[in-house]
Symmetry: D3
């Protein structure tokens, strides 16, 4: 069993806002992250897969193919977008880093080849804050 | 003459959009940076001042005081904000990294002590793109 | 189960010195790290907690609150200090990165909210050396 | 149980090439990584060991001694070398990051002191691609 | 006058070797950098241009267009290549970082738009060594 | 004219303290940097030289030789030391980053070969604060 990790990045706007709460409650809980006119981040996405090394290629999986899957199913849908308004797989969800990491896991999972397993989605919102999800 | 540099960072939303142009022209010129619902970045701000070392302190300037000036006059006005909508010193300007660096220079300049000179405002929009302004 | 990580940093002086040993033995074992007049580091502290995402906030825990706990119970007690002389929770301990990581774990543990678990304390002494502790 | 990690780096040339395949098949599978005249990388090697802290030293292991083992048994054999042609422990293997991480694990394992266990060999080929191996 | 910088990267093999010298002299001068079977690096290329901000776009130059020029005239010719054998604009030159930076300057210069000036080519061979060229 | 830069690092303890002032005045001016029992940093030293490329080597100067000069005349005298107590070329000087950069310039200058000029000493005290000195 070996683990392969690929780093990608995207830039997006968002705000943290619970529509079931008043404006005051949102500001109390989320502070400046609830700014009505949005703010944004350069997100770093770090995805790890695991499995056996293929003897013919020396690869668990071609890192370029992993990158292509991440680009098609995550980055192209999310880069230079508004996470609250523009991204179908985030509709109806609070645009926290936690929820975004969980949603990215679901986006990637169906598109990996049969011989690899998704191990971890790690998502940096800023260089000081990141979230990791390893599945259930 | 010695140079002292301080790094700060802020997160903001923006879009690149010339209101004198059609939607089509904006998308043609700015591509996904013109996304109507905004996108955003973790900006890194790197400010350099210059002058003589004070013999009593060994400092050109206390880096904490430089940081406090940058926080008060730049970061607090811009962090977790929308550069096009929320920031008074960007009103009426295209929210490019170039224009933002120029505007930050003007924000900082009046607040430095008399014995130091502002040398450079360097602004990273992403880890791959930065702008520097050294004044006229 | 999701994991949230927060990065903090502090600067401190220390030396590696076993008071039960002779000066010669200390220098033999610890080399220049035993320098009588101390040396120091910019430490990077990376703390990971785990638990379930709160549906109302989308958070495992507000990263700012985690940061506040780390500041109050670790960084404010240790930043710009001497690990051997100034830090109560290191008294009587060898000021190694290993022991410091263990002590930081104990400092943080009682202050986390009931719904999150401390997962890992990771401590970089230099960009090339780090220690991780995951509890017993 | 505590974990200690040491970062090392080396520069090497390689190509990805399966000698049992035609030139066309190699280029089809490995793309520009199969370039006949080689290409190269600044590899970052990150090795983690685990065990108990020694009470007399506060160390799991002296990080300088870990570094010396990595230098002698890995970096000196591989730095400024061609992974396909010059490195005895890679002979007959495809010079992928996966295979290199596995081979480095085998190189390190016999040389660690009895009281520590090798936990992970992590190898960055570029800042965007890394492999981890935790043993069988 | 404002300065815009774009970071790119490429991976290449090379050796330092003066064909007018004996093998012994090459090894004496270049040490392990003269390894007959090559070694390689992840190079970081950092190019700075200067000029006036365009009022309609807020840009000195679209950073994506600068990136496209760097890709077409530098990175595509050099990435995953052997600097001594595969790169036409390095033929007959010692493949040092200094010479490569100078050659990259010449590659870029004819392709910039009339309203910007090339200011600096900065080239990192490793994270600890870089070269800068500002033209004559 | 080409510029070559080499990165080095060292770890040291220091405090900011003007012996001509009272304890109170020192704390008022230097804050926690005046902590009586010292604190410390991982300093990054970045030295740039300039001159002409040698045609036979393709080098301005062998970066390893530059590194050896920096090690012998700076890092070995300062690494794992107390800047106020242990370093001869800092005796009688306030141990600020500014003064340290100036003193390092003087340490390096006499040891460079005749054909290169010292261009810049850049010194990071933390990842957020650096000083540059370009000589008189």
């Amino acid at each position: 069993m070996i683990f392969l990790t690929r780093h990608e990045h995207f830039n997006a706007a968002h705000k943290l806002y619970n529509p079931g709460w008043s404006e005051e409650k949102n500001i109390e809980v989320f502070g400046k992250c609830a700014n009505a006119n949005w703010h944004g981040h350069n997100y770093n996405l770090i995805v790890t897969i695991k499995g056996e090394v293929n003897e013919d290629t020396g690869f668990l999986m071609d890192a370029k193919k992993l990158s292509a899957i991440l680009s098609e199913h995550v980055c192209e849908k999310i880069d230079h977008k508004n996470l609250n308004l523009d991204v179908d797989f985030m509709f109806g969800k609070l645009a926290s880093t936690e929820n975004l990491a969980l949603a990215i896991w679901e986006q990637i999972l169906p598109h990996l080849p049969y011989n690899v397993k998704l191990h971890c989605v790690k998502l940096y919102e800023t260089p000081s804050i990141c979230v990791e999800y390893f599945g259930n």
